[in-house]
Every structure is written in structure tokens, then in C-alpha cells.
Point group: C3
Chain length 429, copies 3
């Protein structure tokens, strides 16, 4: 690499041109990937699961971020706790299923046994001098935001999660996500860098041509159109859209659900954005017929025509909450050119499959949309891997949030790198 | 790597012993592979396709060299053009099929649309300040040599392609490759470094034992035999071979096809060699019965007993042109230990499958021969990967062209490295 | 890697805490793996095969250690010889099957032909100046220890193999392994570093819960139990165990088989340990019914109730010899996180399958036990790959031999590194 004058990551960050896609190494290099894992995914709040997956004491899910495996478990006090999935004896991974129920956490290797608060309560043959209290499971920070579970692998997580929680709770509360159940969950591996997954998510410039199912319910106008491109037909359509938005605002006000846009994507670790958006036609849900997919509405909502609350968090998640169901998405980097996208569909926990909802109908839009996006991310990765690739310009209209994502990323990585270089060195190789 | 005193590539090149196979890192190291891609495959003329694949305007093939993807297309003026397959917006790979037909090149991501001359003619939502003329597709140099298409990824390609074209056109012209069609095409991945593929191609020391199909038509004597090894039987056979060669020369002279050997494998970027060779038995074609595989002869040829014109180009191609059909081969490195060998069989464009030729019969010899060679390349790669491997001696008789290939490679890499080290550094990571 | 202050392997070795598992890079890093291959597996005596696999002249097996392939062959004088499986011409791997019979070793590429003593006897086309005597196959050191074949890839192998042979021959001799045949052989790939495979092998702390088949015949008390953990039941069981051991010692003395424990795991290159162990219930064999799996006993043994002679060699092998059969195991590193475990079951060479023994019955215990161990090694590897992993304490009772394995490894790698740094540099890249 150094042969022809390597450009350092610091230099690449410093010379990044706002308004353009990133230089190739950000999408392709192993060094940048390792930094992304260490400085972004190990130091920020990462959306990984929903409370609805672990309703009872002992219910757990395991979550993998890089080579780190974390147990997220409902403990005996009904709180959500998180621990590194690493035995304190010889380090074995203890829980190997994606989810399950346990009374205690027992390592399968030599049966060291831990309580759900992480304390070691049994370790045979260790002799008199052995102190069990020094061998508790290592805790991981975990926070529930109205039922959405975020973990932070750093010892000192960003403090601004409180500000996020304060701002977002009123928006999320009416949907009562903690009282839902997971009706469906799909893992999809996209053949591209996680930042291409996120950039793809942050714009709808590509929707009209690529997402036939999604655009039944979605007004792409909501994502910014160039005024000079607007022809007469489009001008009329946009005017109609404005009228519909006004109707939705009246309804939101009547139902008491907050809808003011919040955009804190700049200058903070836990960047986020929310927007309540109108839905086309019947106006109820992101489904093929734009009507509710679940008869039982979320929480105590009674008005199905609420449109959708979209909520995006940096670095890796987005969520759409409607009156009848919610869809949550997380992107987890697997390698410089592979990313896991996990999608969960949530319905009221008392809704009955086959009676209140049909899984195929519930998932049809995003199942297809995700696969279409995966194909776009894959051609994006292939393209930026070419030596001929140079960063191109984002549309100032339809790609504003892509630029905000990149700006946040560059800002966070730069600041982490400058603080890291001052640290003394941890372990390596 | 540096732990026990790494030897630099420069040092390995400098100490290379003529007449012996290369040291192991040339076949196994990632660093050498990256240099091979950058300094050999991105700076020389690379055979990638034939005109016969893209006869009509809008016909295209995509070609991948490393992570570079190139569109080779017949443009609206019926010329062959080549472009990087990278959208100037956010870099997506645009054409994802190996071949097809297009009116314009439309990026599937956000529909930026390019003419077949590379100019951007449509890009929505980019606003008033956006200058389309700055966002044309990047051109790639492309040359047709009597229907054989070579590209060069460097901005300034080696100038000596002209000399090659001048020398070779008279030899190739009678076969009129531009007026052929591709009757069959097979991709084979060899489990070895591309230089082992090329070395294997440049000798016939291994033919007698390994290629039962090929040696039906091929005189291995043509590739150099050690005189002191010749026993009485072999001496008689070689004498017979000389007589047959003389007969072929008479015929070539009568038909007006040039046959003087040309060997420019030294001291030039675009090294090549040609030789018109007798064919055994019926003398017509590299087939199992040594007779023409296609009734319709190429161009306006009427004499089927023309033997075969062999034409080799550095770094990655070889071709055999007979009266009835031609076979072209290209080797494209995939990784230090994997190489794609693409073989195409060409017949007169008016020949009718099932009437004039049978694909199985046409391809039988090289289909089998390629697979046999792939097995040899694979054991070669395994062997040179052993720490016990040391370069061994080439036969001065049967491996002269292997030595010439290695000498050309060492010369080109050395000269590229010395000129590169003087450059200022491009981008890296 | 160097970004955040890389810790060198030397430093990791120096700071290793006795009594705890190794730091993560020893199990996960490519650099350590390369050093393990070079300094451990290329400089020590490695168990690779048994004489029983090559009873006749010309019988061979091929053995792969990293990228090195070795031919182990019974030569024309009925001695065991070993050669690098690399042709001296252009380096091809010559014998590609795991085993077979040859008269001479003929390279498939250009038919260079070698005698079973490694001398080159035929190489066509090489001309008058070519000296065949300079192109013999490269020899590899090989030693038979009572039928167990060890090779050493270094030019100067550790001299202490003689001491091993002197000590162990009396123990092994009664089982006459050279007069056995391989009744079954299974290759299993464990998804973990080779040292995790070895650590797993060196303790039985995990046996009670994980090995239902093995613990039918095996007394886990033999591997060390914590006294303070002993409850009344266990104390009674251990007392019973002591009585049974005394009975076995009487029998071993009567049969004239040595049984004193030898433990030379410290301060020597060719570390080893042996112990003759009682077998539970019928006391005969590591089978599901603890009775002999083969009616024909090994050598001239007539007493089936001999328990089992266990024999462990550093770095990579273990063996269990009973009256009726023997099982040998070798572990060969494939990559930092993959290890080949090869298991062979040996019976008297005159035993008849279906009459004297049944392969399923013979292999049932270790077939299952190996798969159980593979699962444990895999969760071990996953766990130590987490950034949250820290070395944990070994049990002073049940994991003493794990500590001895690690201590030997650290000692050998440290001493090799300090001697290597003084050397001049061999080839690199
Ligand atoms: S590794 Fe968990 S109990 Fe031993
Ligand atoms: S990447 Fe091609 S149009 Fe956007
Ligand atoms: S490589 Fe073995 S004979 Fe040529
Ligand atoms: Fe999309
Ligand atoms: Fe060949
Ligand atoms: Fe075990």
C-alpha cells in the first residue's frame, strides 16, 4: 500500500469534498473498515433489537457486531441487561443461538455458571484461592428508547442518548413498541459497504424506478425535488401533495401525535432525525393497498390514517411506525463489502396471525424493497471498487440527507481519530 | 513479512536468473499480484474481445480486469468504443450483464443517461448549476487488430501497437475475423497465477503426455527438440516433419498467405510472435479428425489445407487461425492463484450451426486441452507455493518461449517500477 | 495494525501470565500463525503418519503442513523415506493423491522421473550441459517411533528425538504398531486455532458434560480433581478408583508392560508425556461396552484388560494404545482459525473386518468425541476473537496439562524468535 505514497485516512477525511460521494477507500479498504468498527460501531449507540423480542425474564437475543457477540437479556427484575457473550474462564462463546430462554447462563465448555446479572455463581475445580467475584460477565451498556434497544460497546457511551430519548419519546410513545410482538424478521446480506447501505437508505432519488411496491404508498415528493425540473404535470402533483399533507397535519393534531420534524444530524454523536409523513391513497400503511396490514392497531390508537412516523438514527438504523404496525431496520457491517440488514415487523402483541394480520401482506412492501435496495448497493460497491471511480455530486434536492449522513460520518471519524492518536496504545496485532 | 528481512520486488527482479523459472513470490504474493495488475494489466494492450461479438450498433460486451469493468460497445457510427462501466454520479456499475444491446447507457440507480459516445444527456434533480459536460463516461483506449479487440487502461497507451498492427495485418487479413461470429465461448478458471497459465501456453514440452486430443493435429517437433535426445525413430519422424513443412510452405505461397515467422518478444511493450504451422494428417484444422470443423471457410479462402496461423501477444493472449475457424484465448488474472481463461471459437458469420458446423466437434480439441492445462497449472501453483520450491532450469530446446515470456515480464515490470518510483503518488489505501 | 501501538509477538510472549489462557492474538492473528508454522511446525518433530499405511515398497502417503507437501514413502530397501513433493524442474506438485503406490516418482507435467531414493533418472530435452545429480528431490527428515512416523522440515532437526525414542520404545513395543493396519481413518476440520485444539485435548475438565461416549470407559479422576470440591459421594468414587488403579498395576506388572508415568514437557524441543491408565467397567478398551473392539489382540498380547497407554507429543499429537487396538491423532494447522484433526484406528494386520472387528463399533467413541471436541473448539475460537476476551485462569487441578502445553509453546516460540533474529534473512514477501 505504501509503495506509491499511501494517503492516510486522516488526509482522506480532511480533503473530503462536501456535496460529493466519498473517495473509494471509504467503501473498499480494510483499514477504513477496521476503523469504522472500532471508532463508529464500538463507540456509538447501535440499534440492535427490540424489547418485543425478549418479553419474559430469561428471554435473550445474541447480537454480533464484528467479532463481538453480545447477549441482550431480560433479567430476573424484568430489566433489559447486556453482557459480552464470552466466558471468563477460557473465553468460549456461551450462547450460540440467535435467541432463546435461559434460567442462568451456563458455559457449555466447563459449565461455569452465571446469573442473569452476570455474576459467576459456579466454577468447579478452581480451588480455594479462586475469587468468583472477579469473574463476572462483562457488562455492555444498553438503553431502551420506547422499546427500541440500543447498545454501546464503549465503557463511556455518548451522553447525548438522553437528549435523543427526551426528544423522541413523545413521538414514539403512542405506538407503544414495548407492547408489540415480532410478527416477522428477515436478515438480508447486502454485497456492499455499510455506508453504501446507509446512503441508499437516506434518499428516494432511486425510488420511482426501482421500488414499484414502495411507491404505491410513498410520496417521493417528500424527499426533495428540483424546482427547475418540475414540469406542469409535476407541479400539479406537488400541489396535490401539499394539500394532502395539510389534511394529515389536521388529523395528527386531532389525534395528539407530534409531527414537527426534528433534524439533529450535525455536531452530535447520537445523530437522529424524525419526520411524520403522509401516506398516499388510503393513507394508512406501507402496504400494497395502503391499508392497515393489522386490524388491531398499536397502543390505544384508533385512527388508522396516521401516515408514517419515520425515525432515523446514526450510524445504522431506520424505523417506520404506522398506526397498525412498525418496521425497524438495522445495518451491521460484516466486512468492507458486506452488510447485514435485519428487518423486523412489529404488530400489537395481542394481534392474532391469520385473524388480525397476514405475514405475507404485512411484509410484502419492505421484503421486495429491501431486495431491490440490495441490488443497488451491490452495483454501487462494484462501481466504487473500480480504479476509475471518482466521487460524484449529490443532488442538492433529493440527496440532502445522504450528504448529512456522510458529513456526520466524516465528523465522527475525524474526531475519534484525533482523540485516539492522543491515547496510549491498547493491545494490537 | 518484514520480520525476516523481506526481499523487495525490485531485488527479486534484479536477481532473476535467466533460463530458470521465477522465484516463488512472483507466483504467490499479493504484493506482486497488485503490481502485475497495476503495471502490466493497466499499462499494456490487453486482448479482451472480438469484433464479432458486437456486430451491430448498441451491441456491447463488458470486460473485467481486476476491479475495473469496461464497456466495449459498437457506437452509432459503427465504431468500437470503450468506456469505464462506472456512473459519474455515485459510481454505480451500470451494465451488469456480460453482453447485450443498448440504445443509450442508463444507470439503473438514478437513471443518469449516457449516449454511446459517453456524453451525459440526462440527470434529473441536479439543479441549475450542474454541468453535464463535465460528467461524461471515462473513455478507455481500444484498438481493433483485424477484428481482435485490445484495450489499454492507461491514459497513454504503448505506442508500439501500430507496429504490431502493421506487421500482423497481412497475416490476419485473409481470415477476415471481423466477418466471423462467435460459435462458442467458454470461461475456465485455472487455479494458478496468470504467469503459470502463460508459461504453460508457451511450451509444448508437456503436450505428448497430457494432450491426447491436441496432438492428433499438432506436430510437437515445431516447438523445439533436444538434438542429443533424438533416437533413430525420432530422427526419421523429424525428417518426415521437415518434408511436410516444405509442402505447406509451397501451399501457403500459392495461396498468398504470409508465413514468415515474426518474433518481437524483446524490448517492446506490445510483445508478440507469429508462426504459421503445419497440421498433421489431413492438415486442415485442430480437430479430432484434423479436417475442417466448418464447411464454410473463413473470408474468401478456398484451400482448407492451410495448417494454422498461431499468434501470441504479451501479456495475456494467443490465437490459432485456420482456414475454417479461429480460436482466440485470453487470460485474465483474478487473484494471485486464480486466472480466468476465456476461449472463443469463431466461424464465418454466414455459417449455419448444424449444417456447416457442429459445436461439439468444433470445440472438442481445445475444450479438453484447456482442462488438461488447467490441471497442470493447478499442480504448478501448489508446487511453487511450497517453501521447498526453488526455480528450476528451462529446457533450452522446448522451453525457449517460456524463457522469452519471463524475460519480457521481468523487463516490463522492472522498467515500470523504475519509472513509477519517480512519479508522485496517486491515491492509495 | 500499527495504528494504535501494536504489541509485538515478543512482548506478548514476554508478558504471558502462567496459569492463564493465552492472549487473543495467539489464537487469532495471521502473524502469530505464520510464526507458528515457521518456528513450531517447520522446526519440530511432527507426527504425520503410521508405518502401517505404507507396508510395501512403493507405498506412499502425502502429507501437507501449511503449503508444504511431503511424500512419505517405503523405498526399495523397505526403509521409510520422505521428500518434498516439489518437482525440481518447474516445481509442480507431483503426487496429488493422499496415498498410493509408485514404482518411481514421475512428475505429471514434463515427466521428470525420480527413483524412490529421490535421484533424478530421466529428464528429456535438457541438453548436454544438464547435470541430473544436481536435481534430486529434496529430502525431509523422518523417524519411526515403533511405527509412529514423525517428520521434521528443518535441515537440523531437534536432537532430542533420540531421548524420546529411548524412553518410549519399551512402552510402545508390546503393541507392535508396525505390525498393524489402518482399519479406519477420519479427517475432521475444527473451526479453531490449532492451540485451542491442543488445549482441548490436554484436559478432561469438559469430559463429564460433553463426552457421553468417552466417559463410559474413561475415569475422569485421572486428570485431577479439586480436593475441596470433593463431596462424600465423590470421595467414595475416588477411593474406588484408587483400588482399581492398584489392580491394573498388578496386571501391568504381571504382563511386563511398563507403566511409570513420564512427563518431559518442559525444557526440551520434543516434549512428550506418557501414562498408562485404567479403563472403567470391563477395563479393556475405549469402546461403548468397554470391551475389546478387535478379537485379535495387538502384537503377542494375550491379556485384554490392559487399560490404555496414553502418549502425548508436542506440538501436535496424542495416541491411545490398548490391547486390541490403537488410536492415533494429529492436529495440523490450516489457518489461524482452522485445524485438521486426523484420526487413525489401528488393529492387528491379520485381523479381518467383519470377523475380528466391526469398524462402526471400533470408531464409535472417538468419532463422536472428536465431533464434540470440534464444537467446543469452535465456540472457543469465536469467544477469543471477541475484543472483550481476556485470558482467564486455568484450574490448578484439571487443567495442569493445558498450562504445560502453553508453557512449552511459549518457551519454544520465544527461544526460536530470539535465535531467528540473529540469523541473516532468508527469502521473503
Ligand atoms: S470456557 Fe467457559 S467454562 Fe471453561
Ligand atoms: S449512481 Fe448512476 S445515476 Fe446515481
Ligand atoms: S515441472 Fe516436473 S517435469 Fe516439469
Ligand atoms: Fe431504496
Ligand atoms: Fe497445454
Ligand atoms: Fe474432549
Amino acid at each position: 500500500m505504501a509503495r506509491d505514497g499511501a494517503v492516510s485516512v486522516e488526509e482522506l477525511l480532511a480533503r473530503r469534498e462536501p456535496g460529493r460521494s466519498l473517495e473509494a477507500p471509504f467503501y473498499t479498504s480494510r483499514e477504513v473498515f477496521d476503523l469504522d468498527m472500532k471508532l463508529i460501531f464500538h463507540r456509538h449507540w447501535i440499534f440492535v433489537a427490540v424489547e418485543a423480542e425478549i418479553p419474559e425474564a430469561g428471554d435473550y437475543v445474541t447480537v454480533e457486531i464484528g467479532t463481538t457477540s453480545v447477549i441482550v437479556v431480560r433479567d430476573d427484575d424484568m430489566n433489559v441487561a447486556a453482557f459480552h457473550n464470552v466466558c471468563r474462564h477460557r473465553g468460549a462463546r456461551m450462547l450460540t443461538e440467535p435467541s432463546g430462554v435461559v434460567g442462568k447462563i451456563v458455559c457449555p465448555y466447563h459449565q461455569w455458571t452465571y446469573e442473569l446479572d452476570g455474576s459467576l455463581i459456579h466454577a468447579e475445580h478452581m480451588g480455594a484461592g479462586f475469587d468468583r467475584t472477579c469473574h463476572s460477565l462483562k457488562r455492555v451498556n444498553v438503553r431502551s428508547l420506547a422499546g427500541l434497544l440500543y447498545i454501546c460497546l464503549a465503557d463511556e457511551p455518548p451522553a447525548d442518548f438522553d437528549a435523543l430519548a427526551e426528544a423522541m419519546t413523545p413521538y414514539l410513545a403512542p405506538h407503544r413498541l414495548a407492547e408489540t410482538k415480532v410478527a416477522a424478521s428477515i436478515d438480508l446480506i447486502e454485497e456492499g459497504n455499510w455506508k453504501l447501505t446507509m446512503e441508499n437508505n437516506r434518499e428516494c432519488y432511486h425510488c420511482a424506478t426501482n421500488h414499484p411496491e414502495l411507491t404505491v404508498s410513498l410520496f417521493e415528493y417528500g424527499f426533495g425535488f428540483a424546482p427547475d425540473d418540475a414540469d406542469t404535470d409535476r407541479a400539479a402533483a406537488m400541489e396535490a401533495y401539499e394539500r394532502i399533507c395539510a389534511e394529515f397535519e389536521t388529523r395528527w393534531t386531532r389525534e395528539g401525535v407530534p409531527f414537527a420534524e426534528i433534524d439533529r444530524l450535525h455536531g452530535c454523536a447520537t445523530g437522529f432525525r424524525t419526520q411524520r409523513l403522509a401516506i398516499d391513497r388510503a393513507g394508512e400503511s406501507q402496504t400494497m393497498d395502503t391499508r392497515s396490514a393489522c386490524k388491531r392497531l398499536l397502543g390505544s390508537l384508533s385512527e388508522p390514517r396516521l401516515g408514517g412516523l419515520s425515525f432515523w438514527t446514526q450510524p445504522n438504523a431506520w424505523h417506520h411506525l404506522m398506526a397498525d404496525h412498525a418496521v425497524t431496520f438495522s445495518a451491521i457491517p460484516l466486512s468492507p463489502d458486506r452488510t447485514l440488514v435485519r428487518t423486523r415487523w412489529l404488530v400489537h402483541r395481542d394481534a392474532v396471525e391469520g385473524v388480525d394480520y397476514d405475514v405475507d401482506n404485512l411484509t410484502e412492501v419492505w421484503r421486495n424493497t429491501n431486495e431491490q435496495d440490495a441490488a443497488l448497493v451491490a452495483i454501487g460497491q462494484k462501481g466504487v471498487s473500480s480504479p476509475a471511480y471518482v466521487p460524484g455530486p449529490y443532488s442538492p434536492y433529493t440527496e440532502g440527507l445522504v450528504e448529512k449522513f456522510c458529513a456526520w460520518y466524516v465528523e465522527r471519524l475525524s474526531s475519534a481519530l484525533s482523540s485516539t492518536s492522543a491515547e496510549t496504545a491498547p493491545r494490537a496485532l
